[in-house]
Symmetry: C2
Amino acid sequence: MAKYVYFFGKGKADGAKEMKELLGGKGANLGEMSRMGIPVPPGFTITTEVCGFYEDSERYPSKIEDGVKESIARLEKIMGSGFGDSQNPLLLSVRSGAAISMPGMMDTVLNIGLNDETIQGLINQSGDPRFAYDCYRRFVNMYGDVVMGLKPESRDDIDPFEDILHEMKSKAGVSLDNELSADQLKELVGLYKAEVKKRLGRDFPDDPMEQIWGGIGAIFESWNIPRAVAYRELNNIPEDMGTAVNVQVMVFGNLGETSGTGVAFTRNPATGDNVFYGEYLMNAQGEDVVAGTRTPQPINIIQKGDRKIISLEEERPDTYRELDEIRHKLDTHYKEMQDIEFTIQKGRLWMLQTRSGKRTGVAAIRIAVEMVNEGLITKEQALMRVDPDQLNQLLQPTFDPHEVHKAQKEGRQLAEGLNAGPGAASGRVVFNAPDAVEWAQKGEKVILVRWETSPDDIRGMDAAEGILTARGGMTSHAALVARQMGKVCVAGCGALDISYKDRNMKVNGRVISEGDWISLDGTEGVVFMGQISTRPSEILRVLLEKSLAPEDSPTHQTFHQLLTWADEVRRLGIRTNADEPEQCEVALAFGAEGIGLTRTEHMFFEGDRITSMREMILADDLVGRERALAKLLPMQREDFIGIFRAMAGKPVTIRTLDPPLHEFLPHDEEGIEKVASAMGVPVDRIISRLEALAESNPMLGHRGCRLGIVYPEITAVQARAILEAACTVAQEGIEVLPEIMIPLVANVEELTDQKKVVLDVAEQVFEEQGVKVDFSVGTMIEVPRSALTADLVAKEAEFFSFGTNDLTQTTYGISRDDSGKFLMPYVEKGIWPHDPFDKLDQAGVGILMDIAVTKGRSTRPDLKVGICGEHGGEPSSIDFCHRVGLDYVSCSPYRVPIARLAAAQSALREKMH
Amino acid sequence: MAKYVYFFGKGKADGAKEMKELLGGKGANLGEMSRMGIPVPPGFTITTEVCGFYEDSERYPSKIEDGVKESIARLEKIMGSGFGDSQNPLLLSVRSGAAISMPGMMDTVLNIGLNDETIQGLINQSGDPRFAYDCYRRFVNMYGDVVMGLKPESRDDIDPFEDILHEMKSKAGVSLDNELSADQLKELVGLYKAEVKKRLGRDFPDDPMEQIWGGIGAIFESWNIPRAVAYRELNNIPEDMGTAVNVQVMVFGNLGETSGTGVAFTRNPATGDNVFYGEYLMNAQGEDVVAGTRTPQPINIIQKGDRKIISLEEERPDTYRELDEIRHKLDTHYKEMQDIEFTIQKGRLWMLQTRSGKRTGVAAIRIAVEMVNEGLITKEQALMRVDPDQLNQLLQPTFDPHEVHKAQKEGRQLAEGLNAGPGAASGRVVFNAPDAVEWAQKGEKVILVRWETSPDDIRGMDAAEGILTARGGMTSHAALVARQMGKVCVAGCGALDISYKDRNMKVNGRVISEGDWISLDGTEGVVFMGQISTRPSEILRVLLEKSLAPEDSPTHQTFHQLLTWADEVRRLGIRTNADEPEQCEVALAFGAEGIGLTRTEHMFFEGDRITSMREMILADDLVGRERALAKLLPMQREDFIGIFRAMAGKPVTIRTLDPPLHEFLPHDEEGIEKVASAMGVPVDRIISRLEALAESNPMLGHRGCRLGIVYPEITAVQARAILEAACTVAQEGIEVLPEIMIPLVANVEELTDQKKVVLDVAEQVFEEQGVKVDFSVGTMIEVPRSALTADLVAKEAEFFSFGTNDLTQTTYGISRDDSGKFLMPYVEKGIWPHDPFDKLDQAGVGILMDIAVTKGRSTRPDLKVGICGEHGGEPSSIDFCHRVGLDYVSCSPYRVPIARLAAAQSALREKMH
């Protein structure tokens, strides 16, 4: 018979850390800690498999009934207490725990086992009626909320229990919960239960077994609540993974001044520093720390800095020492930064959780690199530990210090808070998540301001540029989620007085209303009024500005170290898409090994060029077109000279003209008149040309090589500019490796035609210049037909480059510009697991790529194949490119580091399999 | 060593009819006739291989020099004459001849060997100086024209030899060529030669060997002249096939009144009647008959009818009898209608050519069917003999006899001519081919009027609705080409006096100018002024109007017979694309076995429906949309009831809404205002909805299943209409087989979503109606992704139907609407062997279809697969569908017969391999 209930406690456990899929992360790690001899309140885990048959009344709960009963009996024996015993009651917590950590997404119920009889036992045990009744009223509140569903339904709704509590406090004339007396708390329990009865028409359950089954069921049910579904969608977590349920003996952090609770990281999750980092609150339960309802204290002296507060290290040095030892033990044992929860009950330390902790990109790199240096992990493990997309955070701009100084001088600094999510963001204030989503969809940049965030706010946080909260610490929900998302966050900004109703906040005597601009410095933890301009990040100052020496930036050092390791293992080449020398410089600084795509059309939009281009388009005949093109030749040649010099010795792929000609003409009345008078051409001429060039579906129209085939003179002048530039630069003693790329080829015959134009020009140019340079002619693979007939296309093409933007459009029959109308329903209905324009559609477009590579190499075994669509900078797409055998990926300059790491991970993944 | 020169003559031959590829059709058949003992002037054939190396000076002419010399020596021996002998000169003709007949496309040179010395020998031989000098001046004219290139270059240019001849005639005061005296003709030779010298700066060649090599070279060169290239393009003849050259001893049809020349068919090429059919001219050369410069006489009494002219049967009964015997011999030997050329030299008959003859669609069917009945060929051979596209001619309308009668009463009958190309056509008069092409491109219907047509007019004839010539008979160039193209043609209409310069013609005292409307009755050979309305063809009168009894129409009988044989052998099912019961009736009459595509959107454009449709589109919410859709439900249900009744017992595939919604709204100001006031909606509302619905690339936008996914209520109401109709008709005792087809599926998940909507509705409808009907749900395969993932799509789809219009667009990345801008250069440059929207691109789109069929059946072995794109009615595409294993093709009702025959041919072709 399958085992569905796993016990742990007293230095032993049925489970271990390797069993995450079955026991969830929390359950597996509770078992592991127990085995390691770390003090863990005993308990048991109901496996994730049970989540799968929770809704099947034939199997649930019959399959686990015995296991749960036996385990409770075992806990009673260990603790010497009884579940429901009025003298010495056993109290239990129920918590969710899936294989992949979903922080704060799932629900928790504490103090199960309390009723009007067992409360006496708790009073006896604790000797503190106030504590006992506080536990009781918290239990009824939490159980009523989570298990019985008495939650506020909308953002304007009132929480029924909050309402009663509020009334009780004003009746008692107090402002804080802990100022209520035992009797008042007891009265509260009665009022809460009456409210349950009133609202639901049934009694609050008093039977502990009924309570525990209710709790377990609620956890399983919560797997499918909308915010959990939304989180999984955002994070691509499979729906069928399921959650486990952890039932544990209660320990109390709110049992007076020698009790407390805290959350900590074994290293600093924002910077990666190898120092113990955490927060705690004495006389409190865990929720108080995580939910951010009270701002907690720092765990040690280092973290406290010069703030006038006390740290755990000072307040309870023995407990801190024990905790610090556990921290070392876990960090070394797991060889990963751990996110831990602990409770101190009457001076005794209990560990409630350990798990791999969320961290910023900076921290992720630093921890990975330092753990290699500490001998804990290998370089390969370090490379696999960093999410490539996180590298992007290191390149994000920060506020320009001069602008910050100016803002301060102008008195625009509003308040300070905790630097919970590094970075800089300006945006307009909104006070709730749905507004954040709405405004962002309209193209507004927003800052989401909340008293505290909750899992319901996930979508709003994702839509916002930054998050500002009034309460909560470095480990609050807002801080954790912001860091994971790479969002700027200032948390625990106590000066804020927010009114959701009035849609404004008072801050140090000022009123900031919805829609006002504010700026968040998440690295320093400061809030400003208005917008503040930014400057490049530390990495950029080292690599591009060179205003910072590499040795002065530990961030750069670890970044550089990790990417050097990445370069050692990756097989894929990394190129960049760049149209001008400046972009080349950036890409080279980031480690690009060549250019995968130079779009020549961008060159035609500047200054005089657009005029010559228009002259060409408006010309009546070949002679007129050639005259206009002759004017463009020297300008284009200069462009290519600049690029070839910058890319010295590295390959440069240049694509011939791609967009339809009408893109170069003005389309509005005013623009047409302007151009007509500037060019001395009648307005009618331009209008009639526009009419002649108008297309029903420009994406599928007269563009790409179809232009060059109808107007070979365009291809010829471009080939001439490229090859003349190549000769010039080669004569300077700089190596040039031009690759001329013909776009939108569907039939090999198109390529044959265009290649001939290029080769004829090459012969002339080399003759004229008296030099020869090696070059190649290849094609974009961006419509299905060229992929399907790649064996034929490769007869002419010396290289392929996948244009996956267009290839995705044509494979799906979807115009990216028009897909907005159905994108949301498609993602929401799960028809698209993700937008195929963001992540390469491996199951469809990928088949074509595979066909193209295989057929292309069947004709030309040494065919060079790359990708230059936007997917070339997206990690999962890069992984596919590696697997399908591409030679290189090409992406925007700023994504080159991401591509280097992603390519390394692909190579390592291959090695592992 | 390879043999490049093949000899024939005196009842023997190196070649035979099977060697067409090597010797060309003419050469192979000259050899065959010689072997058969039919009198053929002896000669030799230079093989088509030589055409391939003609431009290679290393190999040409050295490889054939000996063969040519030896063959000429052999001819001298047979004829007892000498090439260049002044006493008894051997004269030769040089003619082209490719494997596939290209009538009149290639050039010919006659009388080679004539010069100022040998002319004396010819005078001696013929005893007729006038004849001899006429030969000489014809030779210099023809040689100067064809070999030396002295041709008029444009339509306004003057033919230099024509000019000199014209002057000579006016000087001599005569109007016809044959009124010139021997001396005048001799003078003409001198003038011609002087003109050559003047224009080219070199002498006309007098050496017979130089002449013969010039002639041979000119033939090979003429393979690549524009009109030959154009003809091959139009007829899909490969460029590398090459032509052979036939050198033959001259025989003269212009050697006095006992000489003559003619062209004939072994059966009637217009009707297929098994009677000898042809034309001749006494004292003339072959060119005079074919080029139509003189209108020839009928070959026999039957054909003469009651015309007041003499026939060959009467004029030379012995020759006619001999010719008729040869006709029978050839018809039986080749088991095919032959197109023959003959010359009578001083009473002796010589056969110059036999080949399979061009014929109309009616004739093709009749001859094929009758040859089966005559025991000459098998049913299978008969099926392979008819070009499926020719069936289309049988369905073309003819003039309504009432209208013709009216036109005659109104005095609008202009003239009578030969009924050279059956059918009826009205159009505006143009007088040259380039104008015909230009006008047709602008959308005008034109009738091309010429004195006579020449191969240069091919493109113009193709662009015209009909062709009218003043000269030339039933076997003239105009008549031959028109019949082959299926164009209406009235030839030899002697009443026309055409002035190309004034762009008008005088006809029986009336003047018809360029741009005037005329009408041609090609079946009767009558020309009318103005337009005349048409009525259905004979076949349609039998099948649809039922105004003609089947037994009264031999055309219908053979048509029916052939298609019945086709049905016996074909494997592919034939369905039709029909949106309304009337179309169903037509398709059923033509033999359709079901509907492959009913487009529901057409139903929404009629009357009230468009209003309800617009209401739906303008609705703000689901309730509004559902209200509007409810109004459409009963109307749609009625449509489907009509279709199900008509198609009783046959499958009906219905596609859910496909086009983007903006197609249902007006786009112009006036239209918008009209709709706004009719619907009581503000103009702004419509404009803003239009703006919201506007798309950059509508073809790739919010359409197809993407509509149904965002608005499931649309799919639901359509499914309801279909299934309610099915229940109603089923309850009438009529079998219904609905197949609901979801368009534009790219991911199987889209189909899953839409199928669920349909199945849910079905359950409700069957419950409400108390009946159940079998139905299936399938999908269009019209974007590459669904083809590539067909294994997954087939998990949900119960059938596939290829939408090859869209599939071609997306596979190429080309919008059909926009491809006009580069279609011509693409076809001209040979990048596209044909427009992929006309003929299925087997090499590209075909790969996707193959993948889809294979993958789809790997999941669902009994998957039904069809095609409903326009390619479903095109023979080469149908052949591909057969080979790739489709179950059926679906085409427009009028193409059903074509599809039946094409499908039969595919099955037979498969059997043969």
